[in-house]
Amino acid sequence: MFKRKHLLGIEGLTRDEIDHILDTAQSMVEVSKRSVKKVPALRGKTVVNLFFEPSTRTRISFELAAKRLSADLINFSGSSSSLVKGESFRDTVLNLEAMHPDIFVVRHSQAGSAYYLTTFSKSSVVNAGDGAHEHPTQALLDALTIRQHKGELDNLKITIVGDILHSRVARSNIFLLSQYKTKIVLSGPPPLIPPEFSDMGVEIEYDLDKAVEGSDVVMMLRIQRERQTGSYFPSLREYRKFYQLTKKRLARADKDAIVMHPGPINRGIELMKDIADSDKSVILNQVSNGIAVRMAVLYLISGGSHEFNN
């Protein structure tokens, strides 16, 4: 049972809590397929999207999720607001809080900013990505997508490829999948794979051909050019040569393997151009599931009494 007031990360969630969110999300899928795509569950609640970092998919996904539950939603974006005039993060939030919102959905480039928000705000907080720390709803929507295609999250081989170091998506996914009896393999240029993950029972295989061998799920990550200050690999050309998912490489995976990507895709870099459009790609299913997962999260943190405060 998920009885928390906030969703700050996957780390610390139990398997039961994750299953409860995923089961709820699966029931939410149907709402988006109706002709009237709205249920009154969160009528009268106010959700504030606090985005201090650019985002299209996640912000719109949270927006639609809130609206399909009949909540009112305010979009606040860091680049076109009082922040530009020098107001601090805390003051910005306190001012918004004085308008009595119920839930803050926050994205910020600093790790821990969602947690920091809970230290001075009375509202529920959902982390929509904090620096390179966590992006819990992305991991949940990935898990929902895997479950829909593979029936379960146990007994699989899941290969995560690319820039693990800077990826909050990878981190949240590793925390989530390690709650299940499933094999996780990380692959990518050595400087981008923190070796500490092997302590969590995760395998590291720098050779992508070996890493995808027999995989049920191949999860490709985006090369985050905006976060890379140092040089972690010599050139994009070399990255492509060793770490691009090509048809030939994908043929080594299980014959029913699925290819995932959190988006936005750099077509022709992580993925060979036509892989994203192939029948193995579930990238657009991930996007649809994102709404269901975010509906489930907004719904669950609004309900009942909270056993834990975070």
Partner: protein, 181 residues
């Protein structure tokens, strides 16, 4: 929990459902326009039984749907532990249809209110009729059933428990009371 009375057993439930199925047939001349929608959890099972009875009696195969009213409840902030949403499954167009809404017990009427809101989100039925196995009174909203298996006068402290073979192992209706009152 203390069992105060066993008001219906298997045979009684079976004959009551048969009568209700016949009433549905009698009231709805255009039987092919009828669709049955069960409210989770026990309304679904009773609805399925009514569906089979109508099929047996009239040879008509009716559409069937499942309604989860959790997202339409008016008490989200007070219910705890957290609600479990199991999902709605209505795969046919409800517009213009005669919908028989099925639940096990009619009490405050709030579940039915939520179910009505939910159904009209799927379209505009010609009629919505309500079928319940037990009507125990104590309505908080102006809602009445069209088909009633048994009217059961109860006190508000009592709990009417409908048990069904498919999930509870046996068919019976019990009146129980929480101890300590």
């Amino acid at each position: 929990m203390k069992v105060k009375a066993r008001v219906m057993e298997q045979r009684k439930i079976a004959s009551t459902l048969k009568r209700l199925a016949m009433e549905v047939i009698e009231r709805n001349r255009e039987l092919e326009n009828v669709a049955i929608v069960g409210i989770r959890t026990r309304g679904v099972i009773i609805g399925e039984r009514i569906l089979k009875l109508i099929e047996k009696l009239e040879g008509a195969k009716l559409d069937f749907g499942i309604l989860d009213i959790t997202l339409y409840r008016d008490d989200l902030s007070t219910i705890g532990p957290n609600p479990i949403v199991k999902g709605t499954e209505i795969d046919f167009d409800v517009t213009g249809r005669d919908i028989i809404l099925v639940d096990d017990v009619l009490f405050s009427g709030r579940t039915v209110r939520a179910a009505l809101d939910s159904i009209v989100d799927f379209g505009r039925p010609k009629t919505i009729q309500l079928l319940v196995l037990i009507d125990r009174g104590h309505r908080e909203l102006p809602i009445q059933a069209d088909y009633i298996g048994k009217t059961l006068p109860t006190s508000k402290r009592e709990i009417v428990e409908v048990r069904l073979k498919e999930i509870d192992g046996s068919d019976e209706v019990l009146i129980v009371e929480e101890e300590g009152f």
